[in-house]
């Protein structure tokens, strides 16, 4: 099966200098995993386990200390590969004085879309996330949930093949969470590959084909859906069990 993302022996060490002394801390250590085309892959771990660091390295916001990452078979950073991914950060921040239409126009241009296509897709994605009515309002007036929806809209705007979602249900109400889940399922059925990190074990349970458990920067277990499917709540048990076995502090 074609591999969309390949992470190989990835390590990231942070160095902080203060008054002549350098402190190092580890973000991720010898991380190796892959995401196959058409699957939903979940990254699960406690706070500080390295989920966000991993995503940021893949996206080019951080640079690895060791190891390599390949997107669509190309080592990052790669221009063509970046065009094929859509990213939703944990808390999307936008230009407060711009409207959703203006912001999507900017992102569409940056994603090298044609102007006509930007206009068409803007209408489509705003409909998908149910934000058509707020299209011309400045975003300083938006609630957290509304911003999350626009975040999803900009991730989908250029119709990417690979979606990277960092805590996609943060800030959403129960209805919003359900709508978000259905949308991810629909996108996956349409052939999109999804990588998402989450604290929400129940969402991972419902969506993911495979889950990687991170602890203290290391991938300590890789689970397949056959291990928890049709056993609601079992993923959580597997998660706790894995952490206890690894000696992680709970």
């Amino acid at each position: 099966m074609e591999t969309v993302l390949q992470v190989n022996q990835l390590s990231k060490t942070y160095k902080r200098s203060h008054l002549g002394r350098t402190k190092t801390s580890r973000g991720v250590v010898d991380l190796t995993f892959e995401v196959r085309k058409g699957e939903v892959f979940g990254l699960l771990g406690l706070n500080g386990s390295g989920k966000t660091t991993t995503l940021k390295i893949i996206l080019g916001l951080l640079f690895p200390t060791k190891g390599d990452v390949k997107l669509f078979g190309k080592p990052i950073p790669h221009h063509d590969a970046q065009r094929r991914i859509g990213y939703l950060p944990e808390v999307p921040y936008f230009y407060r004085n711009l409207t959703p239409k203006e912001v999507l126009r900017l992102y569409g241009t940056l994603s090298e879309m044609e102007p006509r296509r930007i206009r068409e897709r803007t209408e489509e994605v705003l409909k998908i996330v149910k934000m058509e009515r707020a299209a011309d309002k400045p975003m300083r007036e938006f609630s957290k949930g509304m911003l999350q929806r626009i975040g999803l809209a900009q991730a989908l705007l250029h119709d990417p093949e690979f979606l990277i979602l960092d805590e996609p249900v943060t800030g959403l109400d129960p209805l919003g969470i359900r709508q978000s889940r259905e949308l991810v399922l629909e996108l996956n059925r349409a052939g999109k590959t999804v990588l998402f990190s989450s604290h929400s074990i129940s969402e991972l349970e419902k969506l993911a084909h495979r889950v990687g458990i991170l602890s203290e920067g290391r991938l300590i277990r890789l689970l397949d859906e056959s291990e928890w499917r049709d056993r609601p709540g079992h993923l959580e048990e597997l998660f706790i069990e894995t952490l206890e076995q690894s000696g992680a502090t709970l």
């Binding site: 916001l61 970046q82 065009r83 999307p92 921040y93 992102y107 994603s111």
Partner: protein, 269 residues
Amino acid sequence: MIQPAIQALAIARTTVIEQIRNRLYLVILFFGGGILLASLLLGALAPGHKVRVIFDLGLVTLEIFGLVTAVFGAVSLVLDETESKTIYLILTRPVSRATYIIGRFLGLVTAVLFTMAAMSVLHFIAMVYDYQWFKEFTYGWSFHSVYPLLLVMAGGKMLITAAIALFFSLFASSQVSALVFTGSFWIAGHFGSELRFLIDRTVEGGVAKSIVLAAASILPNFQYFNFRDTYAIPHFAGFEFIGTALFYGLGYAGFFLALSTVWFSRKEF
């Protein structure tokens, strides 16, 4: 080359819109306009040279507020964007860091020049308000040739200032520190020529002299652009000087822009 240019222009456009809709920007414009109108009062205290006072105060105000716009713009656009993570959604797209920096710079310069253009309209109105005195002030020289040139040279100064402000905003921790750094360059840039002149004539050789002269050469020399002070000096400068000065301005701004790109290309978020 075309796609990065389109992307840079899109970022520039967004920058201008963000700036103009920013309340702080409107406050700056309001205060600048207020000072220009207040120059009418100051001019009244100098009978016989009323328009000269309005002219001089207006041009200094234009530049100072251009400086303020550049610094606060650079900080709010880059520093705030970095801290608020708005930048994530740009850098995770197929946009090079150089394109981002250039786009931001173009937008910032456009916003600053817009401020100066708006204030120059008010300035012009204040000068021609008493048309009789305006005619006396402009007796013997061509205001219509000189005034646009003064604005162009002030714009050259702003080009350099905006590039320096952008550079400092990439690693300054606050608006105040960015203002202090950029303001220091502003002062040093006006003072450099004089310092070099003084050192040359008063100090006898040595390492200290070499260091000071070298520093004076590296700092931007805003006296090249200070036409608002020097336009009346007989035979001061011709078109060759002006052209070379603008080339200098582009080179200096380009240097800081390139420096910003080099620094920014290794910045982690």
